[in-house]
């Protein structure tokens, strides 16, 4: 019944479950090779960077080349701490989800550098419009961990009043925009926000994150059109973790050479970077932020990375990709790479690392205990039931008042 040959082209990944993991088709240029242009370079001049791969940490975990942001070891240690915490937190939450403590969870394992270094290279006053996989930003911006957990278990202290799925954080104080479940919608919003920053003249900028698969949405295009036309001070981060649930990146990319290269079509500065390299992410973000703040417009940054774990707790990747890919993924693990870099600098060691992991683990466990004192999804207390009628409008109209009565709350 099935044609052996499909009658039109449908791209497929190199390997599928049962096959041996293999990334040999992916070219990884050596670290340090990429040039770092001035931040006022014309967008069109960034072509090589859009097609290449900015890498700072080499295979010996040393920082090399023009893009080395030359960060103070304290900053590196801080970044390492945020990344480890992100991972520890994710792992714990997954366990808790498996125990039925929350309805859903999404990890960012393997992508911690993208969010943590991105956030650290910006100002805390810059607004971020993340997707659901940049929880690292929250750690980098110092969000209270108990608060995060209370959101995830939707208890009485959930700052979103139990209205959102877990991990769909919003935190105005930390300039962390409300995460939408609808893909790509945050992009034109980020551009509009960035334009408003210029309008206000307050020196702030905006950044947004979108997955490889989501770049196919119309809003990705609309946002880049806006960003290009109004030269908005915004950073558009494409997190190419190579998977969109079960769909490999080739379905969104088609014949496009890279996701960064899409930015070229709008004349925007476009960089493709090693997303598992803390220093590369930091340096690229710093470059783009400086460019934006100086009025030279938007930058598209493709973070080349790999979704090391399942899409979410509703997903099991063994159905669509070979096991063990992550172990041979050539760009490695972002935590391990920064750790080794710090060790190489003589600024870190295995003991301290083990202690850090232990501390953070304990802290996370203790935090969860505290979080539960504010209630659990199943046994409460939750946000009061009547709160479901609040915040639909600034003031409930007669319909909502009646409906609240009907519900008897």
């Amino acid at each position: 019944m099935a044609h052996t040959e499909p009658r039109f082209h449908v791209p497929a990944p190199h390997v599928r479950p049962g096959d041996t993991p293999d990334f040999s088709h992916i070219a990884i240029p050596p670290a340090g090779e990429a040039k770092r242009p001035a931040t006022d370079v014309a967008g069109m001049e960034t072509r090589d960077l859009a097609l290449g791969l900015v890498r700072v940490l080499d295979h010996n975990h040393q920082a090399v080349g023009e893009w080395d942001p030359k960060l103070d070891p304290d900053v590196l240690r801080e970044g390492l701490r945020h990344m480890v915490l992100t991972r520890v937190f994710d792992d714990r939450m997954l366990k808790l989800q498996r125990q039925g403590k929350m309805s859903f969870y999404m990890k960012s394992t393997g992508e911690e550098a993208v969010s943590v270094a991105g956030a650290m290279a910006m100002q805390n006053s810059d607004m971020v419009f993340p997707s659901y996989r940049q929880q690292g930003i929250l750690f980098a911006r110092g969000r209270d961990i108990v608060d995060m957990m209370c959101h995830c278990i939707s208890n009485s202290r959930d700052n979103l009043k139990g209205r959102q799925l877990p991990v769909h954080y919003a935190w105005a104080e930390g300039k962390f925009f409300s995460i939408s479940g609808n893909l790509a919608t945050q992009l034109p919003q980020a551009v509009g926000y960035a334009m408003a920053c210029e309008y206000r003249g307050d020196g702030e900028i905006a950044a947004t994150w979108i997955g490889d698969g989501s770049t196919a949405e119309g809003d990705f295009h609309g946002a880049l059109v806006l960003a290009s036309t109004y030269r908005a001070p915004v950073i558009v981060n494409v997190v190419n973790n190579q998977w969109a649930i079960s769909t490999f990146q080739g379905i969104a990319a088609g014949e496009a050479p890279t996701f960064a290269y899409k930015g070229m079509g709008y004349g925007l500065a476009s960089l493709r970077i090693d997303g598992n390299d803390f220093l590369a992410v930091y340096a690229a973000t710093q470059w783009a932020a400086e460019r934006a703040r100086a009025g030279h417009g938007a930058t598209v940054i493709e973070h080349f990375t790999y979704r090391a774990d399942a899409h979410s707790t509703s997903d099991d990747p063994s159905g669509y990709r070979p096991k063990g890919e992550n172990e041979i993924w050539p760009l490695g693990d972002p935590v391990e790479r920064l750790k080794q870099h710090l060790i190489g600098l003589g600024e870190w060691d295995e003991e301290r690392h083990a202690a850090l992991e232990k501390d953070l683990n304990e802290m996370v466990i203790a935090s969860y205990k505290e979080a539960e004192t504010h209630g659990t999804l199943h046994d409460g207390p939750l946000s009061p039931v009547e709160s479901i009628f609040e915040d639909v409008y600034a003031e409930p109209d007669w319909r909502l008042r009646r409906q609240r009565q009907d519900l008897g709350v």
Binding site: M127, F129, N159, L160, K161, R163, Q164, H168, A170, W171, A172, F177, S178, S180, G181, N182, T185, L187, P188, Q189, A190, V191, G192, Y193, A194, M195, A196, C197, Y199, R200, A206, G218, D219, H221, G222, A223, V225, L226, T229, E390, D391, V392, Y393, A394, D397, W398, R399
Partner: protein, 337 residues
């Protein structure tokens, strides 16, 4: 007081608000330099600058998204969708984002955008320049929906919309832009200058969102409608000499149930009317709620006067348009029932 048509009244409302509040900005396709294909935003760019009245790319989703982002930063964006028929590419940003931002963030972020868009037929616009898509929005928790029927209300409500802390979808019945309309395809266009609601203060004023108006008092039957059909219903009652009470809803969400119920409890008979196709239009909501609210007062079934369940035809638009004769037939049917 000045005589204004609806375009001038809307323009005046925008002008007042841009003058009063530097956070108010206006944009849309052709809405900047040229001032909009219907000229509602005329002269605003000259007066307020390129950044407060500007042309947008042809991407309604991007326009909505940009407006949301700006509003989240505290600006008051008034975004024009050139024709209501073209709002659909931007619908996701309205339904999934603008309407829910306050809710999903528990009040931390809000998007009090005003979306202005000309709607309705009767201008030989064919199926893509004639839609009345209000029922796509009346079902969306978190947005208010407004549709004025005359210059005075248009300005007062637009100002209220800009001042609303909630997103407002503001439909402008384009058949009424240049003059009142009584539903006779052939009839000469009369002018707003001769209509009392064509008298419009040049200065700031606002009208409350959520308040309907009894624009014709009567005791035999209640007609509840909005936009162009308000004038058509009045003309039909006049023509047929029926003592109909006509309610101009003005705000669809939240609609003024009190005013409607008071009237229906008095008349015992009710027609609800919309220009959009019949099935699942906003008139269905009105009928459903009125029969629940006023069941024991009702002496006859509530009739719906609506467009047909077809796209808006071009050549035969007057066969589609719910004109005075359809109102008269419905009134007779309800009165005889």
């Amino acid at each position: 007081m000045a005589k204004m048509n609806m375009i001038q009244a809307l323009n005046s409302g925008l002008d007042n608000m841009m003058e009063r509040d530097p956070d108010v900005i206006s944009f849309g396709e052709d809405a900047g330099y040229f001032g909009g294909v219907f000229r509602v935003t005329a002269n605003l760019q000259t007066k307020y600058g390129l950044d407060r009245s500007f042309d947008a790319p042809i991407n309604e989703a991007a326009i909505m998204g940009m407006a949301i982002g700006m509003a989240a930063k505290g600006l008051k964006p008034v975004a024009e969708i050139q024709f209501a028929d073209y709002i659909f590419p931007g619908l996701d940003q309205i339904v999934s984002e603008m309407s829910r931002l306050r809710y999903r963030s528990a009040g931390q972020f809000t998007a009090p955008v005003v979306v202005r868009s000309p709607c309705g037929g009767g201008i030989r616009g064919g199926q893509t320049h004639s839609m009345s898509p209000e029922a796509f929005f009346t079902q969306v928790p978190g947005v208010q929906v407004v549709m004025p029927s005359n210059p005075y209300d248009a300005k007062g409500l637009l100002i209220a919309a800009i001042e609303s802390p909630d997103p407002v979808i503001f439909f402008e019945p384009k058949r009424l832009y240049n003059g009142p309309f009584e539903g006779h395809s052939g009839g000469a266009l009369s002018s707003w200058g001769k209509h009392p609601k064509g008298e419009v203060p040049e200065d700031y004023y606002s009208l409350p969102i959520g308040k309907a108006e009894v624009v014709r008092e009567g005791s035999a039957i209640t007609i509840v409608t909005y936009g162009t059909l308000v004038l058509v219903a009045q003309a039909a009652a006049e023509k047929a000499g029926i003592d109909a009470e006509v309610i101009d809803l003005k705000t669809l969400v939240p609609y003024d149930l009190e005013t409607i119920a008071r009237s229906v409890n008095k008349t015992g008979r009710c027609i609800v009317a919309q220009e959009a196709p019949r099935t699942s239009g906003f008139a269905a909501e009105l009928a459903a709620q009125v029969q629940e609210e006023c069941f024991y007062a009702l002496e006859a079934p509530i009739q719906r006067v609506t467009g047909w369940d077809t796209p808006y035809p071009h050549a035969h638009e007057w066969a589609y348009f719910p004109g005075p004769d359809r109102f008269i037939n419905a009134m007779n049917a309800v009165l005889e029932a």
